[in-house]
Amino acid sequence: MSTALALIPDAAPAPLPVAPDPTPAARVAAAMRGFAAEIGALSAFRMESCIHCGICAESCHYYIATEDPRYTPIWKIEPFKQAYKRESSSFAPVMRALGLKRAVTATQLQEWQHLLFDSCNLCGRCSLICPMGIDIASLIEQARHAMFDAGLAPSELYEKAAHQARTGQPESSSEPYRDQLLAIGRKFGVAIPLDVAKVDVMLCVARTDIERYPAAVAALARVMGHLGVSCTFRSDALVAENYGYLAGGKDLQRQISRRLIDEAIACGAGTLLVPECGHAYSALRWEAADLYGKPLPFVVRHVTEYLADALRGGTLHLRNAGEETGSVTFHDPCELVRKGGVRSAPRAILKALGVTMNELLNHGDFAFCCGGGGGVIDMPRAAPLRYRAMEIKLREIDDTGARTLLTSCSDCRRTFDDARVHFDWDKSPGSLLELVAANLVTVAARP
């Protein structure tokens, strides 16, 4: 195992029940006890239901690409099954007394850091294949929490999560994002609503878009302006991404979500609109209220479903973009489509744009991940394995023969762009939102 996987001494800021200055072994032991104590009935039931059939391996692009059995999804939670059986399962006292399940060790968890972070995109494809119906992805997410508590979150993710919880941005930038946002408005000639006191919709922005795809930021503002919706970005809660979610740090995830929740409440928004970012949607739509401890007083919508609603409601009209794009293939972001439930919206928009679709062999619910999800794109050490896994996806895209590749997640775009450089690949991923913004039909121009 490489030295990059060594324990990060201060990776977990949350106080653990070992003090003072716990050794790595004590920290791991406490984290595992915490994991077992925290495990709910649902997760316990999922772990107990596994019959060791190994079928989940056949869904995972890391296994398919390498045929390395370690990449079997359910194997990625093996130490946590061990901890659960030893500490809180039906026969835990017997397990401990007879030594049938050994305590999880720091060395074991160090090895599993590679399996839980570097070689898992949290894409959830494994959850669709299990004959017992186990939602394996949710178990892996829970295992990441324990890894974080054990001080074993990868430094790239931990540092961004901690920075984002503290400052609102995952990393320092030459200019604050607020200023960059306004500069994007000036560059693209679009009004950026910022810090409006009372609105119907609060907007936030993918940090990846600010840094790499500013046209997508402008597209969001342009579309919202076109729809005539009262909306605003908020200086104190601009970033949609949640590195706490990716790192497995629940407290950091809570702090990061809370920043957006508080600002949405402050401006009276009835809707918090998530930009083209998959994991941001999962974190806000499907986890934020649990961390908040009560229902959110607003709805969370992804921009893709918001636009599909506008199409359905007759407030959004689009030009035919077929000539501009040629044949199109669409990459379904896992967090949005398979896991998030936004399953029909992207194709409803593509249909309204009148493009010719060449679907991927595995698309919709069964699409392969781009390879960058789950924070993997942020971990340089994971790149060689990621490239092997994503070759499956790239081949499928090439096989469609489509001229244009579109998606609705900025991290997926970033991953494909990275592949373009690495493989000297000839596709450049585009944004569905940008295509919509470029083909708006104004009221006067409507037939």
């Binding site: 059939c53 045929e67 209220a289 399953r343």
Partner: protein
């Protein structure tokens, strides 16, 4: 009391008591763990979530089209020996007499000759399952004592059943006693290992399918 009398009498009822208590404990012990309330606004109402759970219970019985090329053979093997087991346990006339006596019901069975053929085929499939478990790198890595012990005890029940029916190796009464004792052993082991999946499989599919459907997610 002879061996057969013990196996059918105190042996069986003792094992059955452990089986019942163990199964109940394995299920009840989940309730002692925390049940989290999900505060996130569902996409689907209760009816659609329940429908999603029911649908997943059915659809997880066969591979999705997207996976069938990679998993079809393994799943076919798995389901085949399960079907063989069910046929032998539930449709062999002496088993019907015994089980029917327990629950006060009778149902039609299959001819003994057909049951013999199914039994031998099932044993063959069971051997193939073991071969796959030890030769497939993924399954071998996942396997533990529970997997092999559960296989052994189930195989013992099948092998002694065939031996008793075919009168191979000893007096019928002795063979039958050994067969019933192996059933007692299976009942004793059942709640402690993976055989519990017989009770988990449908609730697991339904629960996970229902929760995914609540989100509108794929299930």
């Amino acid at each position: 009391m002879d061996l057969l009398g013990f196996a059918r009498g105190p042996g069986f009822w003792g094992a059955f008591a452990v089986f019942c208590a163990g199964v109940v404990w394995r299920i009840v012990s989940f309730a002692l763990l925390r049940i989290r309330h999900d505060w996130n606004r569902p996409r689907a109402g209760l009816a659609r979530s329940v429908a999603g759970g029911v649908l997943a219970t059915a659809t997880r019985s066969y591979p999705h089209r997207e996976f069938i090329g990679r998993t079809g053979a393994g799943e076919a093997l798995g389901y085949s020996y399960h079907l063989g087991l069910f046929a032998v346990v539930l449709l062999f006339t002496p088993h019907i007499a015994f089980l029917g006596g327990l629950v006060g019901l009778r149902w039609p069975g299959l001819p003994s000759s057909l049951i013999t053929v199914i039994s031998v085929l099932t044993v063959g499939l069971f051997l193939a399952v073991l071969f796959r478990r030890v030769t497939n790198p993924v399954i071998r890595m996942l396997s533990n004592f529970d997997d092999y012990f559960s296989w052994c005890i189930t195989m013992l029940v099948m092998a002694t059943g065939i031996a008793a029916t075919a009168h191979i190796g000893a007096r019928y009464e002795t063979l039958l006693a050994v067969h019933v004792l192996s059933v007692d052993a299976l009942l004793l082991w059942f709640p402690f290992g993976k055989l519990m999946h017989a009770f988990y499989i449908f609730p697991s599919r339904a629960l996970n399918g229902g929760l995914l459907s609540r989100k509108g997610a794929a299930s």
